[in-house]
Amino acid sequence: DVKVTQSSRYLVKRTGEKVFLECVQDMDHENMFWYRQDPGLGLRLIYFSYDVKMKEKGDIPEGYSVSREKKERFSLILESASTNQTSMYLCASSLGGGTGKVYGYTFGSGTRLTVV
């Protein structure tokens, strides 16, 4: 069964810590995405990547960075965690779309991060 795996289900970190959220997919997907989900706000796109070593800012990139050194792995980095980054973080991947081709996303189970 194809999978997107997020390394931690629950995580508690202290304010000011550098936090790494890891996401690995085994489907050879070109595209990978990081969202955060907060009650009443839905999913908001933080960063995405269409290829190795490539990254693009989403709607709310401030306070975050990403790394994609290998096709299967997309890491989200909180440079200095703050309490307002307490949230559910969701990673997703999809096949790259050629002309006229569109694909759904495959999501990981999410990481619930609490910053104290």
């Binding site: 706000l41 999913l43 796109l45 779309g97 569109v102 996303y105 189970s109």
Partner: protein, 112 residues
């Protein structure tokens, strides 16, 4: 904003009834997708409808798309308690069909 908006925010029905959820959006889209999320878990892709399609079916799911009104609806027929979840619509930009934005979702509760 490209982001879809679902309506209603919450819906409670009895098992066996049909559930209808709506989604509105503001910009031109390439396609619209519906996802389901069980409590505290990741999202699962349900169905994709392209901008040149008007209706699509998958099992008990029926999706319609009206691009003139910039709206879509998801109908779940003969609902079951196991359908209890949050449902999200996501819109893909006309100019970048891999760039999707999600709404805040509809919370569906199906009572046994």
């Amino acid at each position: 904003s490209q982001q879809g908006e679902e309506d209603p925010q919450a819906l409670s029905i009895q098992e066996g009834e049909n559930a209808t959820m709506n989604c509105s959006y503001k910009t031109s889209i390439n396609n619209l997708q519906w996802y389901r999320q069980n409590s505290g878990r990741g999202l699962v892709h349900l169905i994709l409808i392209r901008s040149n399609e008007r209706e699509k079916h998958s099992g008990r799911l029926r999706v319609t798309l009206d691009t003139s009104k910039k709206s879509s609806s998801l109908l779940i027929t003969a609902s079951r308690a196991a359908d209890t979840a949050s449902y999200f619509c996501a819109t893909a930009s006309k100019y970048n069909n891999n760039d999707m934005r999600f709404g805040a979702g509809t919370r569906l509760t199906v009572k046994p």
